[in-house]
């Protein structure tokens, strides 16, 4: 669809038809208290040259890769994206495609989404995945609502090691409902403390992130069994799905729903968005699942075809009884993830995951040698928390001047963890990059 602005003549002619003297007159029904009676405080339009210069100046103020070596993940991960992904993705069939309601003219888009569902379901070890949601945080909130729908219970329990932003979105999302949110603390080994779980009644869901915000791999099997014992669903969330290239999938460990962020899978970080909400579950729960779904079928001549299916769960048919008020998907990002996963293949994803893990272990070891403490002993993937020496804030500033961003202060989110920093190492960091960081640490 093109964007064609109206000319002044067209606007005048339309106003004439409805009998309004001016645009302000047209909006006169909006109470004056709801209207802005000042001009917008916006700069004048710029020429293309000036605009480019302005944006360049902006970007010079930002520490961004590859110029900066950024050792932070915490929900957004820097990975190499094979050039074939942006190239294929820029094809107009993918970039400008609209909701594929008409299967007879949308087979390409529908098949791309179907492949996305297949690949994300396989990665998560689930039987069915939807066509994607906005991002990991809203996908988690939707999973909690789904569990409430299925169980008819009102209490949801979240690990405090779920990404703080995810938990904040969940608070917002569930605020208008009568659901109660309870947070579980963490144990000294960096995993979720489930000990208070049996004392909680009326549980709809237990949500655990793995790898969690501290980078620690949670033992999902145990929370799954404990949740099921109480008639609740286990929701496995994640910010780094690449980890499942080497870890057991949430589905194989007993999770009922796996939902989280898919940015890692071929989507640029772009300062925080757009992301990709992965959402997968068991086939027996498919009718309670939110979001759009593409299915494979055969046409009247017996040929393979793809269509939107089980749409009766969705808002345009089910109205207020729909499983969610999201009846769209994040198609372009989902297609990027499909291309990325297809490029790497199962063995490529496994190798890449191993590489991420090994590199992070290398930095962990180097930091240990330099006297930093690793407070949480449990195994990690490509992120870990290190307790740095008291003067580290100054060292970190010095490193920043050398274009190295040395970890995220965990204290911002967990005030009790002073001098603790969350480090991330992906395949984008070389051994030299890590050495540059480590040698700046004075003993």
């Amino acid at each position: 669809m093109r964007y064609l602005p109206h000319t002044d003549e067209e606007i005048a002619s339309m106003l004439g038809v409805v009998g309004a003297a001016s645009l302000d007159d047209l909006f006169s029904a909006v109470p004056s208290s709801c209207r802005r009676n000042r001009e917008m405080n916006l700069p004048e339009p710029l020429s293309e040259w000036d605009l480019n210069r302005l944006m360049r100046d902006f970007s010079n103020n930002v520490a961004a890769p590859p110029e900066y070596k950024i050792f932070i993940g915490a929900g957004s991960y820097e990975h190499h994206i094979p050039q074939v992904v942006p190239y294929l993705l820029s094809r107009s069939e993918f970039v400008t495609s609209y909701t594929p309601y008409q299967p007879e003219m949308s087979q390409g888009t529908l098949q791309a989404i179907y492949e996305y569902q297949t690949l994300s379901a396989r990665l998560l070890g689930m039987e069915v995945a939807n066509a994607s949601m906005y991002d990991g945080a809203s996908a988690l909130a939707e999973a909690l609502l789904m569990a409430v729908r299925i169980t008819g219970k009102r209490r949801v329990v979240l690990s405090c090691l779920i990404h703080p932003h995810f938990r904040s979105v969940v608070q917002t999302y569930l605020a208008p409902t009568d659901c109660e949110i309870i947070e579980l603390p963490y144990r000294p080994d960096g995993r979720t403390d489930l000990s208070s779980l049996p004392s909680l009644e009326d549980l709809a869901a237990l949500a655990v992130q793995s790898p969690n915000f501290f980078g620690v791999i949670e033992d999902l099997k145990d929370p799954a069994e404990r949740a099921h014992d109480q008639g609740a669903l286990l929701i496995a969330t994640f910010t780094e799905p690449l980890a499942y290239g080497m870890l057991k999938s949430p589905g194989s460990l007993g999770a009922d729903i796996a939902s989280g962020e898919g940015q890692s899978l071929g989507i640029p970080q772009s300062f925080g968005g757009p992301g990709l909400g992965l959402f997968a579950t068991k086939m027996s729960r498919v009718r309670s699942m939110p979001g759009r779904l593409v299915g494979r079928t055969t046409d009247v001549e017996g040929r393979r075809g793809f269509v939107l299916t089980l749409a009766t769960r969705e808002q345009h048919i089910r109205r207020e009884k729909a499983t969610s008020n999201i009846c769209t998907n994040n198609s372009l990002c989902a297609v990027a993830a499909t291309m990325y996963m297809a490029c790497l293949g199962a063995s490529g994803i496994r190798e890449l995951a191993q590489l991420n893990h090994d590199k992070a272990e290398h930095l962990k070891k180097q930091l240990r040698h330099r006297g930093c403490k690793i407070p949480f002993e449990s195994p990690t993937f490509n992120e870990f928390v290190a307790e740095m020496p008291p003067g580290f804030a100054k060292t970190r500033q010095r490193l920043l001047e050398k274009k190295i961003v040395a970890g995220l202060p965990v204290e911002t989110y967990y005030p009790e963890l002073r001098n603790h920093y969350l480090f991330c190492v992906t395949e984008t960091k070389s051994r030299e990059d890590m050495d540059d960081l480590v040698k700046e640490l004075t003993l």
Binding site: R287, T312, I317, R318, K321
Partner: protein
């Protein structure tokens, strides 16, 4: 869709205005949807039924029926406790199209008040309603 005259409405059933039927079976009441309802819905692909032991008042929703073109709520023709549900519909929802009064039954209720059956329509009244809907 069929003409009203082609549809079947057994004499010994009670009918609700939103097209469920109720049939007393001893102390209990069996519930399903009428031949008219299944015909209007078309090919039924899924039926969502309540849990045994659930209690609903007359008129409250107890489940949903989904066809290739629509989803409809199922409402209790009489209030009561769910004693059993027709498990066969899980795998064979088409039974609803084939035998809406027989193997396509949905739930069996222990009614709170059998007098509520009297608020439902007998065959002739229901036929009158349908003819009003389809003049």
């Amino acid at each position: 869709m069929k003409e009203i005259s082609e549809l079947r409405f057994p004499d010994d059933f009670f009918y609700a205005a939103d097209h469920e039927w109720a049939k007393p079976e001893g102390d209990n009441v069996r519930v399903g949807i009428s031949d008219y309802a299944q015909d209007q819905l078309g090919d039924i692909v899924f039926v969502e039924l309540p849990k045994i032991g659930d209690r609903h008042a007359k008129g409250e929703p107890f489940g949903t029926v989904e066809s290739v073109k629509a989803v409809s709520e199922l409402n209790m023709p009489v209030g009561g406790e769910i004693l059993s549900v027709n498990k066969a519909l899980e795998d064979s929802p088409e039974l609803l199209n084939k035998e809406p009064y027989g193997s396509g039954w949905m739930i069996e209720i222990k009614p709170i008040d059998t007098a509520e059956l009297k608020g439902l329509m007998a065959k002739d009244a229901y036929l009158g309603l349908l003819k009003g809907l389809n003049p």
